[in-house]
């Protein structure tokens, strides 16, 4: 196939070709970057939470008035929760994983707070903590009842004898050595022994750069607020939510049950900004691709119309239908290639600007390559309809309009 006649025919409509080429270039620049951002967010949302998120319920109780006894309330509530059919395990807990709120402190391997320490998001749980959250123990054991500290007691206020940490914390503190049985120190120089290592668990802040720096401490925080994590059998969660709310509200009049919610509520809320971005960008990408496809169809249709006579002539002197279709396909391929060549430069420039201005990761070339291939295919598909119409022009047309 000769490229030269196709090129010179295209150049007769420079403006139209230039406009669609520019459209293709802009589309590539936007789509490559947008899809890159979408993939990052989707990956972030799909990270495993490390806990049994789908079967977890969280409850908050808030005590008030002189009649409120925090310690007794926690004990009775947990007895009540653990006795409910469908409940696998329940623990008191100070904060909710992946909710955006929590506590973090620094811990090190020597009692000197000026030496290297690592920041860890900590959760106070009781002996049922690991079972209730549904974390997987990679080594060691869960807490025992004797280890659980109750905060307001004067002599052991902030102290815990043991901790359970994620693999990521263990790696940060001890490198490749096993963490089990080793001692860690908090900022006050108080020590605790590592009794368990869990595979993974995401902490309070989903956008934090160390999301899995999490540690469980055997402790019941002081009141008047207390939260519970309740793990249910699969399929029982929704029915248990209202039942728990009712039973706990009736059991104690010196407190308010402020909410009983599935963990997924907090997960969705925390990822809302990311899922919002995915939705927004998805819509923009879809619209942009459709508008550009329409532009290609429009340009090709225009070319078919103005070239009716030439096409008729070619058919009259022996060109087959397939030759006509191929002509338009090649024309489109040339146009798209020029467009994506300019578009690749634009895409990298735009990606560079985005990463510099908003400290996002730099655009990976694979997204531009994928975009180029997609636009080639899109162009060929879009041009096919008008090309088939062109091929249907009867050779007689050539003679009739002279």
């Amino acid at each position: 196939m000769e490229f030269r006649p196709i090129l010179s025919a295209m150049l007769r409509n420079k403006t139209g070709v230039f406009l669609v080429g520019l459209q293709i270039a802009l589309t590539l620049a936007v789509v490559a970057n947008a899809v890159f951002i979408i993939m990052q967010r989707v990956e972030k949302i799909d990270r495993p939470p490390g806990i049994d998120s789908d079967n977890l319920i969280f409850v908050q109780s808030y005590g008030f008035g002189p009649g409120y006894d925090h310690r007794a309330t926690v004990r009775e509530d947990l007895e009540l929760l653990r006795a409910m059919p469908g409940v696998v395990a329940a623990t008191s807990i100070n904060a909710l994983p992946m909710s955006g709120g929590g506590r973090q402190s620094n811990y090190g391997v020597v009692p000197d707070p000026d030496k290297a320490q690592t920041v860890v998001n900590t959760y106070d749980v009781d002996e049922a903590g690991a079972a209730a959250l549904g974390v997987k123990l990679a080594a060691g054991r869960a807490f025992t009842q004797q280890e659980v500290q109750y905060n307001p007691e004067p002599n052991n206020s902030d102290f815990v004898p043991s901790v359970i940490m994620t693999r990521d914390v263990a790696r940060d503190l001890f490198g490749d050595e096993p963490a089990l049985g080793k001692t860690i120190y908090d900022g006050l120089g108080q020590s605790a022994v590592v009794v368990g290592v869990i595979e993974n668990m995401l902490g309070a802040w989903v956008s934090f750069d160390k999301p899995s720096h999490v540690m469980l401490l055997p402790r019941v925080a002081n009141g008047p607020t207390v939260r519970y994590a309740v793990r249910t059998e699969p399929g029982r969660r929704d029915a248990l939510i209202s039942e728990i709310e009712k039973k706990l509200s009736e059991s104690n009049l010196h407190r308010a049950i402020t909410w009983v919610r599935p963990h997924t509520y907090y997960v969705q809320r925390s990822y809302r900004a990311d899922s919002r971005m995915v939705a927004f960008l998805g819509v923009i990408v879809a619209l942009m691709v459709s508008v550009t496809a329409l532009g290609i169809v429009g340009l090709a249709s225009f070319h078919v119309n103005v070239r009716t006579k030439q096409i008729g002539t070619r058919r009259a002197v022996g060109a087959r239908k397939i030759d006509i279709i191929r002509y338009f396909m090649i024309e489109n391929w040339l146009l798209t290639t020029a467009g994506v060549a300019a578009g690749s430069v634009l895409a990298f420039a735009f990606g560079f600007w985005l990463s510099a201005e908003y400290s996002l990761p730099r655009l990976q070339p694979v997204y531009v390559v994928a975009g180029v291939v997609a636009l080639w295919i899109l162009g060929q598909l879009a041009v096919f309809v008008p090309a088939r119409r062109a091929a249907a022009i009867p050779p007689a047309t050539a003679t009739r309009t002279v």
Binding site: T15, G16, L19, V20, L22, Q23, L26, T27, A29, V30, A34, I37, Y62, F64, G65, P66, P113, N151, P152, S157, D158, D186, G187, L188, N222, P224, T225, S249, L253, R255, A256, T258, R269, R272, A273, S275, R276, M277, A279, F280, L281, V283, I284, L287, M288, V291, T292, L294, G295, G298, L299, F302, N305, L354, Y358, L360
Partner: protein, 439 residues
């Protein structure tokens, strides 16, 4: 003449309905997407206290850890909140015309067991009295409290419109009592519906959340040791087991605002806080370099990056999408106008000047612009309905007001005309003889 142009324009559009629909659709889509993202952006970047921006200042002092800055990414910033020790000391100054120290707390509003009304946990703002005047808070009934209430930790409460609706069915409840955390509180005021967006007086505890349910004197929160419901950030290694420990700690958790009338007051107050910090340095606190700031609300909004980067990226991408839509429209217009070139040649031959042809086509693209703009506003309204389902508590973010509607129309017409200029210019250069010959 305009009516004539308009009639011809409509006729011309009707002649090629598919192309006309495509062009109007392209503009509408472009404008719709832009207006959707712009509306969200504009409301996020708004300053609800614009009219008092010149006299209000938030106070920040660098009381943070000598070993590391408050924010690694912006090491020049002091913490955004104050310690209790410092806030108490600043309250002693009588330079500001008004000043407020405040924080969020959790309070139980007791129900009525006899009537099966369950207790509910309310969000309270514990604040000194000037809050209401400084932030121009609108009252439906009654007013805020006075100095005596602050000084004596009197049991007074101001209810939000919504809370008053919940507890008293919306009637004038001034003078009645509510039971909070086992104590009797006298209602002194009820607010009108108030939705400062963003919540400029406390940007770090949910900048787009609704206002608090109830407002009580700051001193009560201290006297009754109400648990904190907002952020607190601590450094160093202090034991903070009791509320008393917490009050005396290095933790920052209080918002502080002052009202200063003129340059002189600002200078006097700045030197007051600087002197205070110098004194504290003598006592071994404030070991970081002197870094105290008074900031206007608009500056504060910018520093706290209320508009997420995501929103800026989206606005940028929307305008690139609009550009693609316009390129598309230029292509279609060009094809359409040049397709009708013989007609233009005929009109020119019959005596129409270039000017008339030019205006004729400009009216036509204007019609496309207006049509696309109106449809675009419709699409943006739909888009914002979709956006509303993606946000929580953000109802006020998703309304198209008159300004936004006008901006939409202006973008549509401007882009329509801009896109139409080149094709119009091309069609005006049609040589009557050349196009007549081919007939």
């Amino acid at each position: 003449m305009f009516a004539y142009h308009l009639r011809l324009a409509l006729k011309s559009l009707r002649r090629t309905p598919v192309v006309a629909a495509l062009m109007i659709g392209a503009i509408a889509l472009g404008v719709g997407v832009c207006i959707t993202t712009l509306t969200v952006y504009r409301l996020m970047s708004g300053n609800p206290i614009e009219h008092r921006n010149d006299v209000l200042y938030t106070v920040t002092l660098d009381s943070w850890d000598p070993a590391q800055p408050w924010d690694d990414r912006q090491p020049e910033l002091p913490p955004y909140e104050l310690t209790y020790t410092d806030a108490k000391a600043l309250l002693e100054s009588n330079i500001p015309a008004r000043q407020v120290v405040m924080r969020k707390a959790a309070v139980v509003v007791e129900g009525d067991p006899a009537a099966h009304v369950k207790p509910l946990l309310a969000e309270a703002r514990t604040t000194t009295k000037d809050f209401f005047a400084m932030f121009d808070v609108p009252f439906r009934y009654g007013s805020g409290w006075d100095r005596a209430a602050d000084d004596g930790a009197q049991h007074v409460v101001v209810l939000s419109d919504e809370t008053n609706e919940k507890i008293f069915g919306g009637e004038d409840s001034v003078g009645r009592t509510v039971r909070l955390n086992d104590g009797e509180y006298k209602v002194v005021g009820v607010l009108k519906k108030w939705e400062p967006t963003p919540k400029v007086y406390d940007l770090n505890n949910g900048a787009f959340n609704a206002i608090e349910d109830i407002f009580i004197p700051f001193s009560i929160g201290i006297a009754e040791q109400l648990p904190l419901a907002g952020n607190s950030n601590c450094w160093g290694n202090e034991v903070t087991n009791s509320f008393e420990d917490f009050l005396n700690s290095n933790c920052v958790w209080l918002q502080y605002w002052v009202e200063l009338a003129d340059r002189g007051q600002v200078e006097a107050y700045q030197s007051f806080i600087d002197n205070y910090v110098r004194e504290q340095k003598q006592l071994g606190r404030f070991q970081r370099p002197l870094n105290n700031h008074l900031r206007h609300p608009d500056e504060w909004l910018k520093i706290n990056r209320v508009v997420a980067n995501d929103n800026r990226v989206l606005v940028g991408l929307s305008f690139m999408f609009l550009a693609v839509c316009l390129l598309n429209m230029i292509g279609l217009l060009l094809a359409k106008f040049l397709g009708a070139a013989p007609l233009v040649g005929l009109r020119r031959a019959l005596g129409a000047t270039r000017g008339i042809i030019f205006r004729q086509h400009l009216v036509e693209v204007g019609v496309i612009g207006v049509g696309g703009g109106l449809l675009g506003i419709g699409l943006a309204a739909l888009g914002l309905l979709g956006v509303r389902s993606l946000y929580e508590n953000y109802d006020q973010l998703t309304r198209i007001d008159l300004t936004m509607g006008l901006i939409a129309l202006a973008i549509a017409i401007a882009s329509g005309v801009l896109a139409g200029l080149y094709p119009t210019w091309r069609v005006c250069r049609v040589q009557p003889a050349a196009s007549l010959k081919t007939q």
